[in-house]
Each structure stands twice: as C-alpha cells, then as structure tokens.
C-alpha cells in the first residue's frame, strides 16, 4: 500500500508544473505573413490560435509565454535580428556587411522604427517594451516557432553563439554579431517549418505583390477597416519602406510596389528563404548548436491518390493517380488548389502533390511534410522520450492537420491545445 501511495505521489508530482525541471519563458515566433498580438486585437484574432489562444493556454502552466512579431515578408537574417532586439531590448542593427550586400535594394543597417525599450522606467521615446530584457545564459529561453519562424529561430541561435558568419567584426559592433552567447537558448522547437524549403514557392510562380487589395482585405475582413492603416504591418523599415502611421495598407503597397525589395532577384526576403534553393543556402551556414535541444513537429493534410474513398476533395481531383498526393476534404479550402497533382483551376501546372520527387508530395497545403523534419544533413532522430541535445528530435507529424490547424486557426481547442501540452511537458523537463 505504501508503495502504491508513493507511486501515485510521484506521478502527481511529475505532472505538476511546480516540479518541472525548469520554468523558463517561452517565446512564440510566427511564420511568413504572420503578425503580432496587436494587429487584430480588436477582433481577438491571433496568429497563435485564431480565436483560440495558445499563448494564454500555455501560460496556464505558470510559465511566462511571449508572442514576438517580426517582419512578415523579411528574410530570416532580418527576422532573427529583429527577434533578438525585440526580446533583449535596443535598436535593431542588421549588420554592416549584410546591409552593404543589399544596399542596392535599399537595405539600411540601423533604421529608425525598430527599437524596443529594455527599461520601462527609462523609455523617453515610448518604444515598445522588450519581451524579456534579463535574457542571458542565466535566464535562458525556449523558442517555439511556426512555419518560417523555425528558420528564423535557427538563424538566431547561430548568430547568438557564433556571431557573424563572415568573420569577427565584418558586421560591425552590433550585439548580436559578437557571438559567444551560448546557453541563452535552452530549446528550439519548429512546427511545420520548411527546413529544406517548400515547393509551394515553385508551383505558384512569381512574386507579384498585389498586397494593396489583399492585405487591405485582411484588415477589413478582420473587422478593423481596410483603410485605417491600423492593421497589418509589413515592418520593412530596414528597407526604407516604413508605413506611415495614417497610411493605409493599400496606399502603402501602391507606393512601394516598385521597390527592389519586392523583386524576385532580391534574396534578402522571405520569398527566397522559403524556396528549396534559398533554404539550402540558409542551411549551408545555419547549423545545429551542440548546446541547444531541437524539436520538430510536422503536419500533413493530403492523401495518396485513389480511384475513390480516400477522403479527398473530388471536385478538385475527381480522377487521381496513386503515385501522387491530393488535398483532404478537411484541408482549409483556399490551400487545396496548389496542394494536389495540379494547381487548379486557373493555372495548369504541377501542384505540390506531384512536383519535384515522391518524398516531397505529402504536404499540409503550404509546406512539404518531409521538409518539416530537420534541415538536410543535420543529425536527427525520432523523439524517444529522452531528448538529444544538438540534434533534431522529431516528434512526428500531425496527420489530418493543415498548415493553419497546427496553430488553431480553424480548429477546436481539443484539436490544437494537446499539441502544445505535449510540447510543454517535454520542455519542462529540460
């Protein structure tokens, strides 16, 4: 009886956050076209949860959880810089060499409008407050990311520990480029991240920013009024493309659409990093740190082709090929057109479900499931319950989850919160 009581007590203690090995904060990092908590605050729609609230749910364990907001269309280098200063405080310094390399496109090393205050009592310019100014090796963080956010946090870890990839001093005196910040990140988790790129970048061609109408539409449909300018932000101050406080998104895009930043030839942008070629370039210098626990989680919302009865959308793909993948009925409707054998209906070209090679076909509507596991060439293994530091611990993929289901956009709490409960249980023991 005493033994049973001891076992029950041990189990209870193990499940209690108060007895977790750590209670270090979590910072959530969004993906391509993501946004911060202030963007649609009036309607309550959040990147992390939609009308659910993943951050609040995670805070229920007693752990601080912060939601970062970085450039939604920016490169991972720029996003990592912004993430650093947004957490620690200070004004973003994108690096001398980096800015010079992209000077033709208008890159600025130290733009205004990208500052965060570390001390609320000393904030004469009313900068937004940094998320966790005490951040250092004694006060480490867990980073949890979705989609492109996974590439961003990997880049941040690389820069924190190793500094400039082109040699000491090459990027100037920015705090992020000095290296040596080992131990600042305890773990890095990626959810549905295109570690090796996504073929969506290839199957929907050309980087044509019809953002005026569409981004304005997002804001309008989210209930904030498309012309107010008080909504979606592109955060491109580092390219001299600051959005005026009263400038509508429509006007902003109309004014900036000819800027070099939006051209395909600009490789300092999300559109490059998200493709297989851009991701490979990133992976050539962003390596896994031996000091960090890495976790990856995937998602899939396609099925193998079948002549019937595989729960796929038969209007988009009435006749199917068993070699290819097709979007499930429950994939969110606007992702279906590019997820299957063809991009339908307006452009007749191969879709993600039949493009590149067979191991790339399964996808979640935005990212190929095989790309979510780990960067090519880096150590990885299925998570067995004992995490391995410096290697990718793959938790598996959530089958029947599309790219936005995993962050709760169109999913019930019972579908999305268990993903983060499971993850928190793992992080708590690190």
């Amino acid at each position: 009886m005493k033994t049973l009581t001891s076992i029950a007590l041990a189990a209870l203690l193990a499940a209690s956050p108060a007895h977790a090995a750590n209670n270090d904060p979590v910072v959530l990092v969004h993906g391509f076209l993501g946004f911060g908590t202030d963007t649609f605050a009036a309607t309550g729609f959040k990147y992390w949860g939609g009308f659910n609230d993943i951050a609040a749910h995670m805070r229920g364990s007693g752990r601080p959880v912060y939601s970062a907001a970085v450039g939604p269309v920016s490169s991972n280098w720029d996003r990592a810089v912004e993430l650093y200063y947004q957490i620690k405080g200070g004004c973003a310094d994108y690096g001398a060499r980096h800015a010079a390399l992209h000077a033709a496109a208008g890159h600025i090393q130290k733009p205004s409008g990208k500052c965060w205050a570390a001390d609320p009592a000393n904030n004469p310019n009313n900068y937004p407050l940094a998320l966790y100014p005490q951040w250092d090796a004694q006060h480490p963080l867990h980073l949890v990311s979705h989609s492109q956010g996974g590439q961003t946090i990997r880049t941040l870890v690389q820069l924190l520990e190793n500094g400039s990839p082109n040699g000491a001093g090459s990027e100037g005196d920015g705090a992020l480029f000095s290296g040596g910040k080992t131990g600042w990140i305890k773990s890095a988790t990626t959810i549905s991240t295109p570690h090796n790129g996504t073929t969506l970048r290839d199957v929907v061609v050309d980087f044509v920013p019809m953002v005026s109408e569409l981004a304005g539409g997002i804001v309008q449909l989210a209930g904030l009024g498309g012309s107010s300018g008080d909504g979606y932000k592109f955060r491109l101050e580092q390219y001299g493309l600051a959005q005026g406080p009263a400038e509508s998104i429509r006007d902003y895009v109309a004014r900036t659409r000819g800027a070099p930043f939006w051209q395909l030839s600009n490789h300092d942008a999300a559109q490059w990093d998200l493709g297989p070629d851009g991701a490979a370039q990133l992976n050539s210098w962003v390596k896994a740190s031996p000091n960090v626990y890495y976790f990856s989680i995937g998602s899939r919302a396609t099925e193998q082709g079948s002549w019937c009865c595989n729960n796929t959308d038969r209007v988009i793909a009435p006749f199917q090929n068993s070699a290819y993948q097709y979007p499930r009925n429950d994939m969110i409707f606007f992702l279906k057109n590019a997820a299957g054998e063809w991009v339908v209906p307006s452009v007749l070209q191969r879709g993600m479900g039949s493009y590149r090679a067979a191991d790339w076909y399964a996808n979640d509507g935005v990212v190929n499931t095989n790309s979510m596991r780990a960067p090519a060439g880096q150590a990885q293994q299925p998570f067995s319950g004992t995490p391995v530091k410096g290697s990718w611990n793959y938790l598996g993929y959530y089958d029947h989850f599309d790219h936005f289901d995993v962050i709760g956009w169109d999913a019930p709490p019972s579908m999305v919160y268990p993903i983060y409960d499971k993850l928190l249980n793992i992080l708590s023991e690190l």
């Binding site: 391509f32 729609f45 569409l214 079948s306 007749l348 191969r350 039949s354 959530y398």
Partner: protein, 158 residues
C-alpha cells in the same frame, strides 16, 4: 464566417505574394517517363489527368503535361457541386456532365461516386459502432483498412 473570410483573404494574399498571375508555359511535347500506376476505373478517358506523369525536379511550369480537357472536367465538377448545393437532383447533374464530358469520363465519375457513397455509409456505420480510432479499422476487410486511416481521427504519426 468572419474568420473564414479573413483566412481566405490571408491565403489569397499568401498566394499572391508567392505567386502567380502569368499564363502557363506552352505545352511541351510529352517526354516524361512511363506514368506511375493509375487508379482510374476501367473505361475512363485516357485524356484524364492520370495519364500524365512529370519527371521529378523540373520546373513545375515547363513540365506541365495536363491534358487540355482537365480544365473542362474541373469546371464541370465545380458546376456540379454548385448545383447540388442549391438542391439540384441527379438528373440535372447528369445533364450537366453529359453535355460537356466524354461518355467514358461520365461513366467513371458515376462509378467513383457510387463507390464513395457506399464507402461513406460504411464509415458512418463503423463510427457508430466503435468511434473514430484507427483500431476500429480492424473490423474491416483487410483491403479496406488502409482506406479507413484517412477517415479515422487525426493522429500524431512518425
């Protein structure tokens, strides 16, 4: 509804940012390797999209081998879905298809829909008996068990 509209706009935005707007490249001569096993029912049109297979790792546009009637087929099926949503009967949908598709395509669609209907009924029966877990599939014939997985509850897999 507002959420759906907002998500739709965001996705349209995403697609616009990543893409399209140019017409497809001219159709190259079909030089692909033999097509993988097709699962089209007997009698289906050889012009259906299953006949095309692309060599891997080529530009998605330049390997476009879609038969010219795929857009017609998709347009018809889109019309059929709309018609059904507004309550159209089988006669009307049959006429919609028969006027624009080949006899073989029509026959294949009807066979597929009949099979889907029968299968969906079996899925409903199975769910009523033992829920949506994958283990419920054990009650099915061996050849049906892989199908069940796509209808079973969402799961974390490796």
């Amino acid at each position: 509804m507002r959420l759906v509209l907002a998500i739709a706009a965001l996705a349209a935005f995403l697609l616009a940012m990543l893409g399209p707007a140019q017409p497809p490249a001219a159709q190259p001569a079909l030089s692909a390797p033999p097509a993988p096993t097709a699962v089209l029912p007997a009698g289906a049109s050889t012009q259906a999209p299953v006949a095309a297979a692309a060599p891997p790792r080529r530009d998605a546009r330049s390997t476009t081998q879609a038969p010219p009637d795929i857009s017609q087929l998709l347009a018809v099926e889109s019309s059929v879905r709309s018609a059904r949503q507004r309550g159209a009967g089988e006669n009307e949908t049959y006429q919609l298809r028969a006027s624009r598709l080949t006899a073989a395509q029509l026959e294949s669609l009807l066979a597929m829909e009949l099979a889907e209907s029968n299968w969906t009924r079996r899925v409903a029966e199975l769910r009523a008996h033992c829920g949506g877990s994958e283990s419920c599939g054990a009650r099915l014939r061996a050849e049906d068990q892989p199908r069940w997985r796509s209808y079973a509850d969402a799961a974390l897999r490796h």
